[in-house]
Every structure is written in C-alpha cells, then in structure tokens.
Subunit: 352 residues, 4 copies
C-alpha cells in the first residue's frame, strides 16, 4: 500500500486525487491547499481524507509515502525539496521546476535518498502518443525529417509564466519522448500583447541528422488546434488530438529525389498511396501514469518520465525563453554531451 | 486594345493566356517558349496566335504593347529589362526578381519610360483576401495582435529555389497587403532533407506596435493546409482557403486584462460570442487581376501590386533566406524608413 | 425540500442521482436496483443514501415526494402507476411508456391526484435546442419547409426495443417541440439484420402546410452522425451536435420562384449570403431539466415535457413501428384533432 | 475513327465535346443546339466543327457514326429513336428516358440494328465507385446490410422534373452497379414547397436477403452533402465525395450477436479496429467513359452502362415517383424476374 498526500487542490488536483484513489494499492490520506474553498471542495468530495491548509502537514506526516505536488511552478522546488528531505517519493506537476539548476538539485537529492521522482507528462500515457512511439520504434516512417506541432486556443492566462512555460511543456515532453535525441540548437520568437508575458510563441529545435522540430503555441487563438505533423522518408503522420475517433493517421506519401546529376535534371518522384488510421487504445492516461508511478515505487524502478525527463523539458524551456527575449537572435546551443539527454530511454517502457 | 505577348507556356502560362483572351480590350498576339512541346500545346489551344521559340520575337514586336513573363524567377530580370527597354508594359510572375537590386533597376527603368509593372500576386484579387482587407479597414478586429499562416502540402519541388522562395511569396504578398506596414525584423529557421534546398521553413516577422507575423511553409506535408489566423483586440479571424463555402470566419472572442494592480490580482476576462462567416464574392482572381492591369495601362494608373510591391516581397524573401542560412541567428533588420514600404497603399483599390 | 427516490441505477441512473443532488432544494433518500453490483456502486458513490433491491421500498416510503424511474421502458408503466397511486410525482426516462394506452392511464391518474409527470426529454434543455426554438419563435427561418435529422452510430443494441424505440424518441421529442404541430401521416421503413429487431430505420412525418420531417436512425453505422437540417423560406439551419463550438449554423441561403407564368419561364433565384453561428449557452441540460422539475413541483406548474409530451412521442413511435412492419405501406394517419397535440405549448417556457 | 455529332450544348454538352475530342480515334463533326448563343459558344470553342440549329442535321449526316444526346430528358426518346433509325450509335444523358416503355423501344430498336446504347452514368467511372465495386467484389465488407446515401445541396431547380428525377439517377445507377441485384419493393416520400415539383424526397429500396437501401435527395439544403454509408457484416464503408483526398474510408468495425438463447441473454460484441482509406485513382471519369464507349463500338461489345442499365434506373424512378405521389402508401413491387435486372453484370468490366 502506497499512502499519498496531495498538495494543491485547484484545477488539476481533483483529477489527481480521483485517479489516485482508483489505482489499486494506494490511499490518499491528506490534501493540502491554502484556500478554504478548495479544502471544502476536497472534503466534500473525499469525506475520509484530511484537508489541511499547511503543506508541511502533508510533507512531515509519518504515514505518507509519496507526495503529489500540483501547485504553480514557482512553488515546486521548495515543496519538492522538503518532501524529498522527509523521505517522500514525489509526483510533480509539469513543468518540473522554474530553473534547470533547481531540477538538478532535486534529482541529486532523490538519487542520494533512493526516492522516485515522476514529472506529470500525462500526454506520454495517452493511446495516441503510445501508438506513435510504437510506430516510430518500428521505423514505420523511415528516417525522420521533421516534427511540427501546434497547440493554440483561447487560453487560460497564467499570472506567472508565459505561453511557452504554460503550453510548450506538453509538446517538448512528447517531442523529447518521440524523437529521443538531444536538440543542438533552439530558436524562439514570439510576442506579448496584454501584459509583459508572451502570449504567442514559435520555437524551432534543430536536431542532428537534419531533423527539425517546430512548436507553435498561442493563447489568443479563436479556434482550438492540437495538431502534430511528423514527416519521414517513407511515410508521414498526422496526429489531431481533437478528433474523437481517428486521432492518428499515417499517409503512405512521400517525395524521392532519384537523380542528382545536375540541378535541372533532378527527378523528383511523388508517392501517393493509402491512408491508415490505426486503432488508438482508449486508455485513461492519468490513471495509467499514476499506476505506473505506484509500480515504480513498489518495484524500485526509475520511471521514464523521471526527474531527468523533467529537467530536459526545463532546459528546453529556458533555452527557448532566452532566445525569445532576443527575438530569435541569441539562439541557444545545447550541449550534445549533456548528461540528461544521455538518460533518454530509446524504447517505450512496459506499462502496468 | 492592348496587345499582349506571353513568354513561358509551362504550368501557369496557359492560365494567363486563357484569362488574357477573356479580358475585354486585349488580344494575345504571340507566345514564346523554348520547348517545342509547349509551343505545340500553345498552338493547338490558340490557333490564331504566333508560337515562337524566341522570347526576343515577343519583346521586339512592334505590335505588342505588354509582355507577360511567366518563366522561372532567375530569368525574370533579363526578360523584364529587355521588355521595358523595348517600351513594353510588363506583367511578371511572382516572385518579381531574384534580388532586390534587380527589382530596383526594373522599377527605375519603368518609371523613366512611364511603363507599368504588375507583379502577379494573384491572391490579392481573391474574394477572401479582399473581404479580409475590407474587414481590417473597417477595424472589425480592433488593434491587430498577430498574423499566423500555414501553407503546407506535398509540394512541387523546384530545382532552383527553396520552399521560402516557392511558397512564401503568396503569404508575404498577402500579409504585406493586409498589415500595410514595414516589418522591423525577420527571423527564419528551416531545414533541407532531400538536397541543398530547404523544404521546411518557418518565418517570423516583427512589426511595430507588438504585431507579429509567422509563416509556416513546407513541401513535405502529407496533408494540404492553407490556414491563416489573424488575432485582434476585438475579434479574431480564421481564413481557411480549402473550405468550399465558408473560407473566412470571424469570431467574437477575445481576452481582456482588466486589472493590473498586482501580478496575482490580474483579472482576465474571456469573451466568447457568435461566429460569423461573411459571404465571399466568388470572383475569378486571375481574370480580375488582368482586367485591372489592362485598366491601369489604359488609364495610366499605378497598380497597387506594382514593382514596389514585388520589391517588398523580394526584400522579405532575401531577409528570411539570410536568417535561415544562419539558423535564425542573424536576424535581418528592415529599415523602417525604407522607400518601398512608404509606397504601401493604405486602402484597397477600386477594381474593375 | 423535495425528497427523491430513484429506481434504476444502470447506465443513466448515476447521472440522474448526481444531478439531483446538485439541484438546490432536493435530497436523494433512496436508490433501488435489482442488481447487487449496481447497489454497491450506488452506495459507494452516495454513502448516506439507502440502497435497496425493492422498488416498492422507494415507492411506499412516506418520506419520499418524487420518484425518478430510470429503468427499461417495459417496466415504466407498473412502476409509474404504483408511484402515482402512492402520491409521488414522477420523472420517467424516455420513452414514457410501451403503449399510448399506458401513457393515457398515467396522465389521467396524475391529473386526478394533482401530481406532476415529467418525461426525461433531456435534449430539450440543451443550449442548442433552446437556441433553435428561440430562432424559430422569432421567425428567423421564415415559413418552415423541412426537418431532416440523422442519428447514427455503432449503437448499444437493446434487447427489447428496435432502433426506432431506442434512438428516435430523442428526435421525435425535439421535432415535436420545435415544429409544435401534429403530424398528419407517418411512414416508416427499415430492416433488421442481426435478430428480429430493426437496426436501421427511416421515418417520414407529414405535417400541415407542406412541412415534412425525416428521421434516419441506425445502430450499424461506422461513424457517428448527429445532424439536423431545418429548411425555411428565408433561411436554413444546420445543427451538428458533434461540433464542439459551433453547433448551430444559420445560412442566409434560399431559393425563390419569382415567375410562375409558364413552366419554362419559371425564374428561380438563388440567394447565397452570410453564415452565422450564434453562441450556444453551455448549460448542463440534465441539471437544468431537474431544477425545472423541482420548480414545477414547488410552484404547482405543469412542465412542458409532461405526460402529454411523452404520449405524443409514444404515439409517433407506435405509428412508425406499425408502418415499418408493413414496409411503409400502411402509413399511419394521425388525427389532427388529437387532444394530446392540442396540449403542445407554442412558446418555450421560462426555465429556472 | 468514330465520328461524333453532339445534340445539346447547354451546361453539360461542352464537357462532352471537350472530352470526346480528347479521346483517341474520335472526331466531333457537328454540334446542334436550338439556341443561337449556344451555337456561338460551340463555334468559338471548336472552330472546325459545324454548328447547327437542327438536330436532324446531325442525325441524318452520312459522315456521323455516333450521336451524343445531351438535352432535357423529355426530348431523349424522339432524338434517340431517330438517331438509331438512321444507324447511329447513341450516348444519352441520364436519365435515359421519361418512361420505361420508351427505354424498351430504344433497346429493341438498337438490338435489331446492332447499334450501341450508352447511358451517361458518369459516376460509375470515377475512381471512388470503381474502388468500392472492387472492394465489394472481394467481399471486403462481408454480407451486405445497408446502403444509405445523401445527395443534398441548394440545387439547380429543374423545370420539368422533380428532385428524384434530377438527383436520384446518380444514386440509383451507382447503387444498381454496386449491389447488383433487383430491388423487391420501393417506397418514397417527399414534399414540394415552391411549385408542383417535389424538392425534398426520401427513397427506400428493399432488396433480397435483408439488404436495404435509402436515398435522401434535397434541392433545399444550405450545405452540400455527398455521403454514402455502406454497412456490412465484416466491415463498414463511408464514401464522402466532397473530400479532396480520402473519399473512401473502410472501418474495421462491427457488431456481432453471439448468443441467441433468450432475448435477455443476447450477447452483442462490438468490434472497433483500424480505419483505412485506400488510394483512389484520380481518373477523369467522363474521359474514361467516352473512351470505353468508343472501345465498345470498335470491338462490337455491349457496355455495362447500356440501355438495360438506363432502363433499370428509369424503372426505379417511376416506382419511386409513383410511391411518392401516394405519400409512401402505394409501395411499388418490382418483379424479381424482370428481364432487365437479369442483364445486370456481376463483375466490374475491364476499361480501356
């Protein structure tokens, strides 16, 4: 039995609690939130659980094994550090921390105390991302060409982070998992309109072997778009997360240059074949992720969405924000030998 | 009566000839193409028209008043210069020229000889762009926030130009017409995969007053996308050029920051109202454009899509290509006092 | 305070209970279900509520004021009759009863005892249907021409009723509410494939003044369709219930015959104007319906979705099933003077 | 060389002429149209072709081998009869004739004189219909359950025929080809709104073995719909003719009843698997059809879209119109032993 405490019962916290309760072998013992109204909601929905105003009640409880930290990003480091120091495993809302230095402190601390860190990159547990990962591992698309993602809508303005820190963690975590390589350079552009925080941004990531990724995030779009194009030498893929039934489509389409003799003799062949939409398992991603976390604790295994995965996303967010502030001019060069990218697992893990 | 000669009868040339013939007050006297097969096609479709292998036959003909140059971009300058020197008005396929220096030579030459230059920015004559221009002039959207355009598909690979020079002229010409301002800086990223020419590219343009534009062009997409989002303070607009009936949709949606006291007291209001798809006039854009050209010649007026408009697009293409070659690092700063942007007309012209 | 008992805790019952609890001024005291597993679920989700295997426990409880009957249609009559005889108001899942005779018995019984009947035509409380009703009342579409609805998907096969009795109650209730007239004749066709129950059916309803309605219901469709076209003289409307944001679209399109001199001089004018998608209130339909039921009880008012509304739907289901069994041949003629249609309210009611 | 004459140069005639000219081994010698403006258009577009006001000039010309009759349906019989009597093969616009009696006269006349009749069921030559026919022949869908088609839009009102005779010939010809069986009974409902001609209609066709077809045709729809669902035991198919790229989608979805012991023990299994959109050959249907006609003449073969195919469609149109006039009541029973359905070929023909 893994006993959980949850800190933060705002928008996402109730989902965490509900799903934690549904996972076999877990209990939620306490929920902390500063706001009385949140505590009342927590109490009404979960009569047997202690509701407290103090995070320290959760962190210091001797009955609690693991703490879920579902608070704004600027609070993650202090809470996570205290929890680890008190010997708790931690499940932390994305993005992991406000800085990569903070993430490294937490990773080292957890390693020393043999505690688990999981960063809540929920999308990695959806049927769509798992299916795409499987197809990429099977080399269905051939050599990868590009990854182009758009995540735009009329967004929930954050008070403390710009649109990159709010929306791009999803795309960066997915891209990191699917491409499985360290980016070489990161260029970002964008603009703020309503206050100092950028609400529209465009991130380009250069990878080795001519792979390029692009992420378009926007809080000011009248329409919701959640589309990712992945182009490869053999096939191309479109993932539209807003489609109810056929989220992932694979196109047997491509271009081949067959003759490179002279620039005007270049022969380009277009291939246009069938389209195929594989069945995507209708899993509850958050439930699967939390079951996996409990599994990792029980079996002393490192989750693939661990602190290192969280750190990689934070590093990319830092690089993008830095470039954005200089209108793309100061592109950020990522060290290819970076330790954290060497932790990137190449295959999809078995999940419970 | 305006007598036309046409140089180039490949993919687009037949459309130009067919539409020129349909315009009242014009005749097509001669068609030049190096390829025998193109000349045969031209002859079969237009029995009374002279088909010649030599562009000089068209350029030097004393019967011809205006020359349409529908050839690859690297040939534009020499052909256009010769035509102007021979006293012909010119209609030039986009992009206008390979360099801005060439464009300036042609503009000055035409001015000295009082000849008209029209650059074939066909999209400016579509019902959709004309409707959007009208809405922007009426301040329907309020203060402009961003312009975000995607033009992707499995593309016709060009032998001599990259995806920016092939696809972005459309978007840059439309954006130039709709925004009506000089960009301050241009940042571009992208990648080549099949040969030395970039097939995927992303261009960001910074304008004054926090207006930002972004253009996504891609030759390697399995699906065709032709979508532009335009965000404003009061309303937001989506133009999907692939929709048969409702190409332009205006959303009465928005975000307003009403309280700036402290960062955590920030009150953001979301407005979500009706959507409205105005009827878009089903005009034949190319026919309208060519009628307008004939009109401008007849009435000695300068078209709004003149050499200056062509030059502005070429300057932006040069800037984007320069930045692209440096992975976004060397962003290009555009002079705000640039003569050519001062030529930008602020209102949509009356068309025939 | 209105105290409720709920009979039936299968697929829909939990939604009823959850929403009843959320309505101000109500309590749920008891839930009856024959299945132990359903009772356990009920108990777990609603710790303070009595769970019983016997419907009679609910019906005879002196503390209970109103009973919600959320069971298969063939059980409705006996349960509803017993509840009314015990002085309870009743909320009955659609379709109201298995026969119109049963419905009439219940209506008369309730009238004698001054008890309320509400039939759960949930769709009438959605933002989309309420918006369409408002537009029709404002004569936005002009004279009505047709109502054409499709409700198809890979359906939950019922054991006891065919696709008409399963899916068409939704459409018939909505159509009854929106058109507000008695149909003159009903023709139905269809076919069974897997057992004796029809899984595909098509219903045509003739109304006075050349109004025609058509309903396409299908349990064997690979794709889900929930679309209704409503054509009028002035405007036309499309309601696509699967669209997330723009469920209702009004087209300023039409056809006008302007000259009837001779058949070959007939001049037909097409009008093609703007499209407009009004904002649809994102209400929780079931919550609104149950609040309205409690309101009707408290204020002694007859709900518009009362027993008569339920009876009208059952009459149309009977007529359609009769015609269906004869392959459309024995069309059913509905009496225009039918009492139940004279109860049809012409305007949308004020809701809480 | 097959020499053609064309009668009728209105909306569709120019397409026929253009495609006939493009077919190898054909010439168009003469075009007849009563209207001077049509003749002028014909002359301008086809300088070498004789344009005449008299159909008899075409029919009696000794140089002409085959006549294309592209006129309103009420003129088909007289023109076709005269052409056959003059020894010409005929290509007749759909629907073949105004009555089945007329069709039979023409079929017998052509048989006696060994002349070819082709009825212009163009859709049978599209890539989509040919692909669906191939899939059905390969039993991809398993036992057929239903065929449900909608063809609605803001239509071109016809002066002389109702919406069934205008739009349904397409669907009936396609259905006849794909199902390859004789319907047993035909039920139709519908309504007129603007004049005496029905503008909205619904046709149900009962086939042997519980196969049912339904056709929804409507001239008063604000949106264009061209969708056909085909349900089978093993798989289900959606053909959306308005999609640019993925017109045909096959769903590995279905329902299976596995236990028929008692009605309440009925076990229904849902199968939900991949979706697959086969590449559809982008053929020019009209060009292929006319090439096939010339082929049939040259090789003395009977086309599959011959007079019998035209007669079958006319018989179904007659039956549907009859039932429609009686509001579905007088359903029409089709003789299973009908000669014309015995002519129905079971396999798709080889085309040029």
């Amino acid at each position: 039995m893994v006993n959980f405490g949850v800190i933060g019962y705002g928008y996402w916290g109730p989902n965490i609690v509900r799903n934690l309760i549904a996972v076999e072998g877990t209990r939620v013992l306490a929920i902390a939130d500063k706001l009385a109204v949140a505590r009342e909601r927590a109490q009404r929905a979960n009569p047997g659980v202690q509701a407290t105003a103090l995070a320290s009640d959760v962190i210091s409880s001797s009955e609690i094994d693991a703490v879920a930290i579902i608070t704004p990003v600027w609070t993650h480091f202090e809470l996570a550090k205290a929890a680890l120091e008190n010997g708790k495993h931690i499940f932390v809302e994305k993005p992991f921390t406000s800085t990569s230095a903070q993430a490294e402190v937490l990773i080292n601390l957890a390693a020393r105390k043999n505690l688990k860190i999981m960063v809540d990159h929920t999308f990695l547990f959806t049927g769509a991302v798992r299916k795409i990962k499987q197809l990429l591992q099977e080399s269905m698309l051939g050599k990868l060409y590009y990854y182009d993602s758009a995540r735009v809508n009329l967004g929930l303005f954050q008070h403390d982070v710009n649109v990159i820190w709010d929306l791009a963690p999803h795309d960066l975590a997915i891209m990191d998992y699917l491409i499985g390589e360290s980016p070489e350079e990161i260029v970002a552009t964008g603009q703020s309109h309503l206050n100092a925080l950028e609400d529209v941004a465009f991130i380009t990531l250069y990878f080795p072997n001519q792979v390029i990724a692009h992420i378009n995030v926007n809080w000011l779009s009248p329409v919701k778009v959640r589309t990712t194009l992945i182009g490869g030498e053999k096939k191309m893929l479109v993932w539209n997360d807003l489609e109810a039934d056929e989220k992932v489509k694979i196109y047997d389409k491509g271009v081949q240059v067959t003759n490179r003799e002279g620039v005007y003799d270049l022969l380009v062949n277009y291939r246009s074949g069938d389209m195929w939409a594989p069945r995507v398992e209708p899993v509850e991603a958050l439930n699967l992720e939390l079951s996996y976390f409990v599994d990792c604790i029980a079996n002393d295994q490192t989750p693939f969405n661990d602190g290192q995965a969280g750190l990689r996303v934070v590093k990319m967010l830092e690089a993008a924000s830095h470039s954005l502030r200089h209108r793309g001019a100061n592109r950020h060069t990522v060290s290819l030998n970076s330790t954290t990218w060497r932790q990137l697992p190449q295959t999809a893990p078995q999940l419970p």
